[in-house]
Amino acid sequence: MDLDALASCFASPACLVTQTTSGLIIGMLLFLVAVGLTLIFGVLKVVNFSHGAFYMFGAYFAMTAYQLTGSFALAMLCGAVGTAILGLIFERAFMSRVYGADVLMQLLVCYAFVLIFDDVVRMIWGPEFKSMGMPAAFQVPPLFIAGGVVPPYYLLLIGVALAAAVVLGLGLARTKIGKVIRAAAHNPGMVSALGINTGLIYGGVFALGGLLAGLAGALAAPVRSLTPGMGFSVLIESFIVTVIGGMGSILGALIGALLIGLIRSFGSLGFPLYTEGLMYLFMVIVLVARPTGLFGKEAA
């Protein structure tokens, strides 16, 4: 424990800025993964245990696309769209077969794919740590805000993730498809009664979840090392995020993700060895106080 470091950081604007930005990028990446998890749960009542793999694939797809084309924008696109297609196939070919079955079967199918996907990545890209490297466009001197160091890429990352959150929020609130998705989350039977193809909605939600997680992976690729199994810790963290925010709540996912991001970033100063433990502890406190999460609906 190093509470002095934490206290002196709070006293220094430079340190505050640095830690807050790093907390924000952790938080925004987590949000992109968690929001897909929470959407899929909201609409399908399925916890996609293999969602972390989507994040992993997003990162690997982006790395390969970048190495082949040298274009950062194309890399992001490949990471997001490639993973969306993967999500669609995964849902249509496998998950759709276990919707009626109990939770155990759903967890097992996901568990199987966690094992399979990790090995597939190991086969294609190898077991060792990989790095995509910072794109040339961002290899510029960092910005200084109130004396704190902020790499420009961090700002881009936060901006893109924030834009995705806004588009998603508006899309769900304003567009027809968004309304259908929210209706499906509220009452699956009603949607099929209206003559809307639920299979299409379900596949679409998985694709959307894949898109967002893939985008998160792609955005993370330049600043994180890539390794098979990298998805699992992200999965656990985004699950913590959804539990804290409340399953099915998008606003909850955003707030939860930012809280976890800040806890991780400031916790690493005060409790360097126990940052993760801090996160779990926070979740436990929230759960004890509010079992359905901060923004979760009270179950009858």
């Binding site: 967890l107 199918v109 568990y111 399979i116 090995d119 086969m123």
Partner: protein, 339 residues
């Protein structure tokens, strides 16, 4: 007795009754025979591989069967049950390395620690609805795993407990000798299974079945659902911890993988593989998974893919475990013959 014998048409002249006492004697007898067979096994097949296999079966079998008390009997899908396996291995290993107490004392003390930890974690988790329960137990598993990794001075971090676990002889039993360890593991397995069987067939076992089927109704006949769930959560943890201790004795150490989430995942899969509707399903599943693991690891380095495909076959193809499948097949055949 079958449906048909007792079906609608049957007269109520002679009511076939469940004889509770005879069942208990039968179970004890089966356990004794099983133990004797296991104990005599080395005389027939002396292969070390086989004995090692049985010891690993004992460790994972206790763990998986205790998980079935939660998953199969109570309907509580814990994705973090493996934390108690790890806790048992580390607790016992550390106790032996640091304090030098006799093995039975370390055994009892580890159970006591497991009891406390499980009671605290259980008190937080058992109120949660199924999917929340699954993931919050998983989060606790990760918490314990990350604690083990980061508390290097005590646990050795990612290297695990190294330097071997001292196994001083007690009461003429020397667990550093493979044969003694083998017999002790078999004894622990048989006793553990017998105790769990007793729990499953006791009034409490039926309380658990009621909670699995319909917790709301259970509370309206006066059952304190929360308390019953907490009790079985803690009891299952004790058996899982025992499995972990056997493992620590067997490998003479403890590794972070023992506390990693994949142990829980494998436990769930073992239950699936063997089937949750029969008491011994998880034991069958354990043997199958260990065989599968050993074979696959020998054949390919990508054993996740093979394992994943096997899981998919059971989850999407059969939609039930092997023992469930066999039992249903038998019932259908018998009904076919009768009708």
């Amino acid at each position: 007795m079958t449906e048909l014998q007792a079906g609608e048409g049957a007269q109520v002249l002679k009511v076939p009754r469940i004889d509770a006492r005879a069942q208990r004697y039968r179970d004890v007898l089966i356990a004794l025979v099983a133990f004797i067979v296991l104990a005599l096994l080395p005389m027939v097949f002396g292969s070390k591989q086989l004995l090692d296999f049985v010891v690993r079966c004992a460790a994972y079998g206790l763990f998986a069967t205790s998980l079935n008390l939660l998953v199969g009997y109570t309907g509580m899908i814990s994705f973090g049950h493996g934390m108690f396996f790890g806790l048992g291995a580390y607790g016992f290993g550390l106790m032996m390395q640091k304090t030098g107490v006799p093995i039975p004392v370390a055994f009892a003390a580890t159970l006591a620690i497991t009891f406390l930890v499980a009671a605290v974690i259980g008190a937080i988790c058992v109120r949660l609805k199924e999917i929340y329960f699954a993931f919050v137990t998983l989060a606790f598993q990760m918490l314990i795993h990350s604690t083990i990794l980061s508390w290097q001075s005590l646990t050795g971090g990612d290297q695990g407990l190294r330097g071997g676990i001292p196994r001083p002889p007690f009461l003429g039993i020397d667990l550093s000798r493979p044969m003694h360890l083998y017999i002790a593991s078999c004894a622990l397995l048989v006793i553990g299974l017998l105790l769990m069987r007793q729990i499953a067939q006791s009034p409490f076992g039926y309380t658990l079945r009621m909670i699995r089927d319909n917790p709301t109704r259970a509370s309206f006949i006066g059952i304190d659902v929360w308390r019953a769930k907490l009790v079985i959560f803690v009891l299952a943890a004790l058996f899982a911890s025992t499995g972990g201790m056997i493992m620590a004795l067997f490998v003479s150490g403890a590794y972070p993988e023992f506390a990693y989430w994949t142990i829980s995942g494998e436990g769930i899969f073992i239950n699936m593989l063997g089937g949750v509707t029969t008491f011994l399903g998880p034991m069958v599943g354990t043997a199958l998974l260990l065989l599968l693991n050993d074979t696959v690891t020998r054949l390919t380095e990508y054993h996740g893919i093979v394992l994943g495909i096997v899981i998919l076959f059971f989850a999407i193809g059969l939609r039930k475990g092997l023992m469930d499948f066999i039992v249903e097949w038998f019932v259908q055949r018998r009904e076919g013959a009768n009708g």
